[in-house]
């Protein structure tokens, strides 16, 4: 077998033959978490409040810890029967409910506190957020230390999540998938119900208020929802990935479309794709990267095909790669398309310049530098190809001849050039030999309407400032 084929077989083995129910649940849980985040994330990005997502995913920590402490206290004090008493970990209905209450409270608190710090502390909004969220996060870490007896949270798990252990054989639907799925459903319902209100209060908050839509309430609502979504997602994917999924899929979608509803759909799709591709890469990459070194002494005792990388990490990386792809290949704002546009513009300008040169050469060979006529550069050859395709010139590429339609185009261009020179000479106090350079650039961008407008303003000039004839658009 060739090495390439061997590689493909390995990938196939990992993704199909060794794909277990666990892998499916990992992808489903991660995808639900990511999709849920992408919806409020879209509005954070559009409101230029991406930093808020970063902040909220950290500030929910004291909220969660507080929920644990309070529910533990409630249980030990006998207010409630300890429903989760038998379970090794303390997740039960009470703790869970408290966690979401804590998230909503802390979401609103973050927004209020950061606004207060910004107003009173004379700092800009991202600095205010930086102050608030690092402080609250540190408080959360401190609380974990102080109340270690009642709080069964591993700070590492909060940061990186543990999507790999989301499902144990024999479980039903994983709890994390239910929580994230719930958040996704809630967010979808809210965005459908309040689409108009979200759109107008994001685009123009003042107008929204004058329409009787409470922009402030929508702002705090969005913060609360973001916090709830982050809490639902934190135990499976961790808050670093939540930040990535709040920001990267919407930013990617923003490069791809100019319609808000499509932007939301696309960012949810990108989020789901990141989850699936991220897990697939996590499974494949270590094997692919290490196979060439399988015989190295260090790796000889390792079963390379059974290695995998962190799914959460690979998901964030994948979403970054998808963003990069959108940046390169986006339909309107993509770098490739913009490069192509510029390339085509350069060819068009070179071609039009050539038309002008041939025209002037016919008019008076004295005015044309012979070197320009015999130019053999790539741009020149592309320009001749461009003109020939449009039937504007015939003959060889070294001595092209204008066709009748080529002659008409050339005359329009020369008219544009000389009209602009006249216009400049009329309005600017510059010597005649300074006119050519600018007219040479501007001539390519004067449509018939603008040409007529200039001619009208100058009372239909016959000759340019150098005394050369200004041709008419249509010959008499």
């Amino acid at each position: 077998m060739t090495p390439q084929l061997d590689m493909l077989t390995t990938i196939k083995t990992i993704l199909l033959d060794e794909w277990f129910l666990l892998d499916t649940w990992i992808v489903v849980t991660a995808a639900l978490a990511a999709m849920g985040c992408a919806i409020p994330g879209t509005f954070l990005v559009l409101r230029r409040q991406s930093m808020m997502g970063d902040a909220l995913t950290h500030t929910v920590l004291p909220g969660i810890v507080g929920a644990f402490i309070i529910s533990h206290a409630m249980k030990t004090s006998g207010w409630f029967a300890a429903t989760g008493g038998e379970q090794p970990y303390a997740f039960d209905a009470i703790t869970y409910t408290m966690m979401f209450v804590g998230a909503v409270a802390i979401g609103a608190l973050t927004a209020v506190l950061s606004e207060w710090v910004q107003r009173q502390g004379r700092v800009e909004s991202s600095a205010a957020l930086g102050i608030v969220y690092t402080s609250l996060f540190a408080v959360g870490l401190l609380m974990i230390r102080l109340f270690a007896d009642s709080v069964h949270i591993d700070p590492d798990c909060v940061l990186y999540g543990s999507v790999e252990t989301v499902w144990v054989t024999g479980d039903g639907v994983p709890r994390a998938a239910l929580a994230s799925g719930g958040a996704l459903v809630l967010n979808t319902l809210l965005v459908v119900a309040f689409f108009k209100e979200l759109r107008v209060s994001t685009f123009d908050p003042d107008l929204a208020i004058s329409l009787g839509i409470n922009s402030t309430a929508i702002h705090y609502g969005l913060m609360a929802i973001t916090a709830v979504t982050a809490v639902a997602a934190f135990e499976s994917v961790g808050n670093i990935l939540v930040i990535a999924m709040l920001i990267v899929p919407p930013a990617t979608a923003h490069l791809l479309t100019d319609r808000l509803w499509l932007l939301i759909v696309l960012s949810v799709t990108v989020a789901a794709a990141s989850a699936w591709l991220g897990h697939a890469f996590a499974l494949i990459l270590p094997t692919l990267l290490l196979t060439p070194f399988a015989d190295a002494p260090l790796l000889r005792s390792v079963n390379i095909t059974s290695l995998d990388a962190s799914t959460a990490g690979m998901m964030a990386t994948t979403s970054g790669l998808l963003f990069l792809l959108a940046l390169l290949l986006g339909p309107r704002h993509g770098l490739v398309i913009r490069r192509l546009h510029r390339g085509f513009l350069a060819i068009r300008i070179a071609a039009e310049d050539l038309l002008g040169v041939i025209y002037r050469n016919q008019e008076d060979p004295e005015t044309v530098n012979p070197a320009i006529l015999t130019d053999r550069s790539l741009t020149r050859r592309l320009a001749v190809w461009w003109l020939r395709r449009r039937g504007l010139v015939t003959g060889s590429s070294t001595s092209p001849v204008l066709t009748s339609s080529g002659h008409a185009s050339a005359r329009q261009l020369v008219r544009a050039h000389r009209l602009w020179e006249s216009y400049m000479a009329h309005h600017f106090n510059v010597p005649a030999d300074h006119l050519h350079e600018m007219a040479h650039r501007v001539e390519h961008f004067l449509d018939p309407e603008l040409r007529d407008q200039i001619a009208e303003e100058l009372d239909g000039p016959q000759r340019d400032p150098h005394g050369r004839e200004i041709p008419l658009d249509e010959p008499d």
Binding site: L46, A193, K196, T202, I213
Partner: protein
């Protein structure tokens, strides 16, 4: 403030009480003072807008023109004064008031088309939980047509020229079908075609009995475009029909005569300095 606080020594003065018979003028402002960070930027404004007229709000930079509009619309808090629209507080009169903010106040990269923006003017009519249906899109399109922009309806708004963006805002205000319009610098930086379109719309509005208050910066065109003027410079300098009030003397008072004392007192109020 509509109630007087007996413990407030200033309340002894009768000036801060609401008018006995609220006027039914499109906009009636009584003793309005507006402050940013405790520093007053508009002092004691008393103003009744004449119905069915086009009114230019004129004043130098920093004279409080935008603040005037925003404070009337409850977008910035007033520290005193009573504002009524058609005899009612703004909350009740909202549907009758259209607002055209400054073009620079929004993010033009936002993913919406010109038509989407105009349809925003219809949101109140459409109501909560209902989508923008074909009927409303048709109405929005008609408003775009009135400003000569129907063929650009599907354009994303960042791909419109400044003048076209301004016309989209105007079309959105038309969609609100209000009786009073407050417009913040609609003529700022627009092309000749847009200027003509805006003037045509203003005339149309006046003809159907509506009132428009327009923040305007081009003194050359005031007499041509507007029936009334409101000269503003931290205080109301003068107001009335253009031919009576738009005089050199009043303009000098508006542009040259910034009351230095107002600034000084405002500054002391910001710092919280006492009488010592």
């Amino acid at each position: 403030m509509s109630t007087t606080n007996p413990s407030d020594p200033a309340a002894v003065e009768p000036t801060s009480s609401p008018p006995e018979h609220p006027s039914s003028a499109p906009l009636a402002i009584h003793d309005m003072t507006v402050a940013y960070h405790r520093r007053p930027v508009l002092w004691d404004i008393d103003y009744d807008a004449p119905p069915g007229k086009l009114v230019a709000i004129i004043g130098p930079n920093g004279s409080g023109k935008t603040t005037f509009i925003k404070a009337a619309l409850d977008l910035v808090p007033r520290i005193s004064g009573d504002v009524r629209f058609f005899g009612e507080p703004y909350r009740q009169a909202r549907t009758r008031v259209g607002y055209v903010p400054q073009r620079g106040s929004v993010d033009w990269d936002f993913p919406v088309s010109a038509l989407d923006v105009v349809a925003m003017g219809l949101y109140r009519k459409i109501g909560w939980f209902r989508p923008v249906t074909r009927r409303y899109r048709q109405q929005a399109l008609e408003c775009l047509d009135r400003v000569g922009m129907a063929d650009l309806a599907r354009r994303q708004i960042s791909q419109l020229s400044g003048g076209q963006q301004q016309r989209v805002f105007l079309a959105r205000a038309l969609a609100q079908s209000a009786d009073l319009y407050l417009m913040d610098e609609p003529f700022a930086g627009v092309d000749a075609a847009t200027e003509r379109a805006i003037v045509a719309v203003l005339h149309e509005l006046r003809q159907s009995g509506k009132t428009a208050l327009v923040v305007h910066h081009d003194l050359q065109t005031v007499t041509e475009y507007f029936d009334h003027v409101l000269l503003l410079n931290m205080r109301l300098v003068a107001t009335g029909p253009t031919r009576d009030v738009f005089t050199n003397e009043n303009l000098r008072a508006t542009y040259g005569g910034k009351l230095a004392l107002l600034d000084q007192v405002g500054h002391r109020m910001t710092l919280g300095q006492g009488n010592q």
